[in-house]
Every structure is written in C-alpha cells, then in structure tokens.
C-alpha cells in the first residue's frame, strides 16, 4: 500500500512537471486551437441550434431568412408542450415519467447483472472462462439491430408485449457493459482480494465490500452507456409498446413530429427535443472523466 502511494505521488509530480513543460504558447499551438475550435463548433452546431430553437417565439420559427440564434427567448414552446398536449389522451409528463422509470430499472438491472457477472469472470473460479470471454468479444461485433427481429419473436412468446420487461430485461446483459467491466476488474490485484479472503471475507463480501467500491469509475461508465442506450431507444418501445400510457419520450417525439397540426407544433417539437436530449448530455458532463478512465482499459489484445 505504502509503495503504491509513493508511486502515485511520484507520478503526480511528474505529471505536473510535464504540464508546465508542455504548454508553451507558440504559433502552431494557436493554429491547432483554432482548428479544434472550428471542428468543435461544427460538431456541436446541431445541439446549439436545438437549444436556440426551443426558446424561439412562434414568429422567429418561421421567419425569413431563417435565424440561427434566438432573438427574444421565450418559454412559450415549453408551456405549449405541457399545456396543449394536456388535451391529449396522455400528458407529456407521463412520457417523461415512463422514460425515467424504464431507464432507472434498466440501469439498476445492468449494474447488478453485469458487475456480478464480471466479478465471476475475473475473480472467481468460473468454468469455461476463456470460452465465455471469446463469445462476449465476438458479440461486440454484432450490429445490434440484427437481433431485433428474433428478440421480438422471443419477447412475444414470453407474453411481454406492453410490459416494462420488454424494454428493460433485454438491455441489461449488454456485451459492451460486461466487456468494459471485465477489462477493468482485471486490473484490481488478486492479492488484495486474497488478503481479505484470508481475513475471513466471504465471496459476497469480496464483491460488495471490495470490488464494487474499488471499481466505481468502471461501473459508473457502464451505467452511463446503459442509460444513454435506454433513454434514446426508439425502436424497442415502438415494437413492444402499443398502449399510449406506457410510451416513452422518443415515441412522444415521433407523435409530435408527424400528423396534422405539425407546423403549429414546431415549437413544442423543438422543446420536447431539447428535454429529451438534455439528460444524456448532463449525465455525460458529470461522468466524462470517469468514462475516459474506464475506456483506457477497453483495449482488445
């Protein structure tokens, strides 16, 4: 432990030295910054536009020539979204609630199933480990939608249509999630667990009291990916959910986008688009450094 701490301190000092050394202002550096600013301005343009449009009053939505940025920001589109849709069979808040419920259940399930699975794959005497690992890596290659049709047949046979299980259970055992967890669990030294075991710690204790706290960035990353995938899923709910009261946000967006009154609802559509997009961006903002740390163990050898 003492050695590790010292190593960390040495590393930190080194990093600081490097930082001081590396950031010299020079002409190529400024050009590089300008290049990156240009690239980033381009990639984030749709998002900036989405934010700007959601706050536009009606006349700015259809003004000619089209305006990129909002001039007189208003919350009108949001109130319209919540009020005007109240005449609907289902209020907009219900879709939000459904999306949150589905995502939370998926994320919690993913966390339980994948951390336990990865623990067994890395630190316990699971038979056929290397074969299972090969299969998991192989399934990383599959284009997810290829399994949609047969998953549908399976779920239909389970009688899970119009249930929350159809939207949550199939997403929990994702090969990407367990792959990232396995790669990161492998980094935890076996010696640490061995010591705890000698002190009388049970397997459950090793998992819950040692692995879980030590691998927080890894499973936080799995959770972020699981959340983004579940929150944005459009095709799953479209297939499995016909009852309006159970539909999720992406389906509500599609409802707003099409059909009669489409033009009048343009503002509400933009507001709904922003509300649907924000959570994933916010979650990612907070978790980015953890995610990148975890991804550093994502390599396949």
């Amino acid at each position: 432990m003492e050695e590790m701490r010292q190593e960390i301190i040495v590393q930190k000092v080194k990093e600081k030295e490097q930082k001081v050394k590396r950031f010299k202002i020079s002409v190529p550096m400024i050009l590089l910054y300008l290049l990156v600013l240009g690239v980033v301005a381009f990639t984030s343009m749709p998002l900036v536009y989405l934010v700007s449009t959601a706050f536009k009053p009606l006349n700015e939505l259809f003004v000619f020539p089209p305006q990129f940025f909002v001039r007189n920001p208003t919350l009108r589109s949001f109130s319209e979204l919540f009020l005007a849709l109240s005449g609907n069979e289902v209020p907009f808040t219900r879709y939000i609630f459904n999306s949150v419920a589905v995502s939370v259940i998926t994320v919690v399930g993913t966390w339980i199933v994948c951390t336990m699975g990865a623990f067994a794959m890395t630190k316990l005497k699971l038979p056929f480990k290397s074969k299972i690992y090969t299969i998991i890596v192989a399934t990383l290659m599959f284009a997810a939608p290829a399994g949609q049709l047969t998953s549908y047949i399976i779920i239909q046979n389970f009688g899970w249509m119009n249930t929350i299980w159809a939207l949550t259970l199939p997403k929990m055992a994702g090969s990407l999630f367990i792959f990232l967890l396995i790669q990161n669990f492998n980094v935890v030294p076996d010696a640490l667990l061995e010591a705890a075991k000698i002190d009388g710690c049970s397997s459950w204790g090793l998992y819950y009291k040692m692995m879980i706290p030590m691998t927080r960035p890894a499973w936080a990353t799995a959770i972020v990916f699981s959340f983004v995938g579940s929150w944005n899923d459009f095709f799953g709910p479209m297939l499995y959910i016909q009852r309006e009261a159970m539909k999720t946000l992406p389906l509500a967006l599609q409802l707003l986008q099409g059909g009669p009154g489409q033009v009048a609802r343009a503002g509400a559509f933009a507001a709904a688009g922003l509300l649907t997009t924000l959570p994933t961006i916010i979650v990612f903002c907070f978790m980015q450094s953890k995610v990148i740390n975890t991804m550093s163990n994502s390599g396949i050898k």
Binding site: M116, K125, L126, Q148, M172, D190, T276, T277
Partner: protein, 302 residues
C-alpha cells in the same frame, strides 16, 4: 503474488459460488443476445410468415432469392456499404485525429464533450434540427446559405431528391456518429507513458508523423481494435438517421438500409423467414469484418 490466489485448488463450492454470481448475466445474455442469433439462423432456412405460420424447411432458398432476384435488397446493401465506408474509415480516422490533437491541448475535456455530445443524443430528438437545416425550400438553413453565396438558384430538395438523401444521410451520420471509439482513443492517449516519447526522441524520432507511426499506433493497437470493432458494428446498424431524415424508406428506396429492409420484412410484411435471412447476413458481415480487423490489429503473441 497474484498467481498464488488463482493457484488455490478450486473446489466444487467455489465453482458453485462463481456460477451463482454469473447466472443472472448468463441467463439474460443467452436469451437476448445468443438466442436471437440461433433463432435467426434456424428461421432463415424456412418460409415462416404470417400466411405460413407453420414453418417449412426450404434450405437456402431465402439466401438464393436475396442475392439473385431481390433488387431492393441489393439497393439496401449498396446504401449500407456507402454508409459503412464513410462512417467506418472516415469517422474512425477523424475520431483518432481529433483525440490525438485534443490530447495535447488545454481544456481538452470541454472540447471532447462538444465533439462527442451529438453521438449521445437521440436521432429522433435531433430530427427537429435536420428539419430546419435541410428544409427543401428557402427557409432551410443549408439552402438559404447556398442562395446567399450565390451557388444555387433553385432550392435543393434535400430530403426528397433520391440522389441527395444518401448524401445528407451520410453527412448527418458522420456528424452524429463519433462513437465509443473516440472515447477509447482519448483514453489511450491519456494513458500513454510520457517517457516513451523521450525515449523515442533519443532513438531518432524527429517529427510528429514519425511519432505517430512508430510509437502511437503500435502502443494504441488494443484501443484501435476496440474502436474498429464498435465502429463496424455501428456502421452496419445505421437506420435511425435515414428514417428520421427521409421518412421510411424514402423515395425510390434511396435511404433504404439493410436494417431498414430487414425491419420492413419483419414487421410490415411479417415474412419472418426471409427477414431472418437478412438478419443472418448482417450478423455474418459484421462478424467477418470484425475477424478481419482482429487479424490486422490483434496481437496474437499475448
């Protein structure tokens, strides 16, 4: 020291505990990841459909029809390959370059977020943006811009002209598709041992290009492989974006992808045998590409 833990003789009890921990994952993984592949393989050799509820074995008839007579499938295949070529190599190289550049800049986390953010948005939610960007009249941003520059005199029917749909779908897909590979690259660069660059400069590495070829690429191989595999899987899965941009499936199937085509057979025509054959083809193609990149980038000796 690490060895001694694994050397303890494994007992039946230990195996049972391991299985207990692994069972929830194994069950869900078997049902929702493995079983779909197996079921697709089996169904693809039958004529199972809504008018043929009792499947009859027809061997490889579906596959023969797919490649010899089904023109729309060939169109979908061509479109998908076009997507894959742009999304794959282009998106991959751009992601790598941006990660490489960002790594040496201050404020890289913010830049990285702004670069990556579009790929964690929902395709449907961003539909509102494309609606305004590519509106087929002068109210659309892109048209308006081209007018102002004097490059066009007639508005371009971005989402209605079959020849343009593929183009804008590719543009939007690349725009939004900087996937997990980017994060893996960024992480890889961040974790490279700085001393290796000093060692390299002693060994005669003169410029950034040589550094890239002789140090970065070999060191980053595992990340490159992970990025390549997820990029391939993503490139062949393209469907949401053409769907939102062009509607379904677009005029003259201009934006039809293999996934879109499979879904059409599966959920509109309810011809499940044939749709399964398309699914199997998709599994096979992504798997084959995956094997190829593993051959190229994988390190067998470890």
């Amino acid at each position: 020291m690490a060895k001694s833990y694994t050397k303890i003789r494994s007992t039946r009890a230990e195996k049972a505990i391991a299985l207990a921990f692994f069972t929830p994952f194994a069950l869900l993984f078997a049902i929702f990841t493995i079983a779909p592949v197996v079921v697709a393989l089996v169904l693809s050799t039958t004529n199972y459909s809504v008018i043929q509820p009792i499947p009859i074995f027809n061997a490889i008839d579906n596959y023969i029809y797919m490649f010899t007579q089904d023109e729309i499938f060939i169109t979908a295949l061509q479109n998908t390959i076009t997507f894959a070529i742009f999304l794959g190599p282009l998106g991959y190289v751009v992601s790598f370059m941006v990660a490489w550049i960002l790594n040496s800049l201050k404020g890289k986390n913010l830049f990285a977020l702004l670069f990556y953010a579009p790929s964690i948005t929902s395709a449907i939610a961003m539909g509102v943006v494309w609606l305004y960007f590519f509106s087929p009249d002068r109210y659309g941003f892109v048209n308006n811009f081209l007018f102002d520059m004097g490059w066009i005199s007639e508005p371009i029917l971005w989402t209605r002209d079959p020849e343009r749909i593929l183009f804008i779908t590719v543009v939007v897909s690349v725009w939004m598709g900087m996937g997990n590979g980017f994060l893996a690259f960024l992480a890889g660069f961040q974790n490279l041992d700085k001393e290796i660059f000093e060692a390299g400069s002693i060994d005669g590495i003169k410029n950034k290009f040589q550094e890239l070829i002789y140090i970065l690429l070999p060191m980053m191989k595992p990340m490159l492989l992970f990025g390549a595999i997820t990029t391939i899987a993503g490139a062949f899965a393209v469907n949401d974006i053409p769907l939102t941009l062009a509607g379904y499936p677009g005029p003259q199937n201009a934006a039809m992808t293999i996934v879109g085509y499979m879904n059409d057979y599966a959920f509109t025509r309810l011809d499940l045998g044939y749709a399964s054959a398309v699914a199997v083809f998709l599994f096979a193609v992504t798997f084959a590409f995956g094997r190829i990149v593993m051959k190229v980038l994988g390190s067998k000796d470890e």
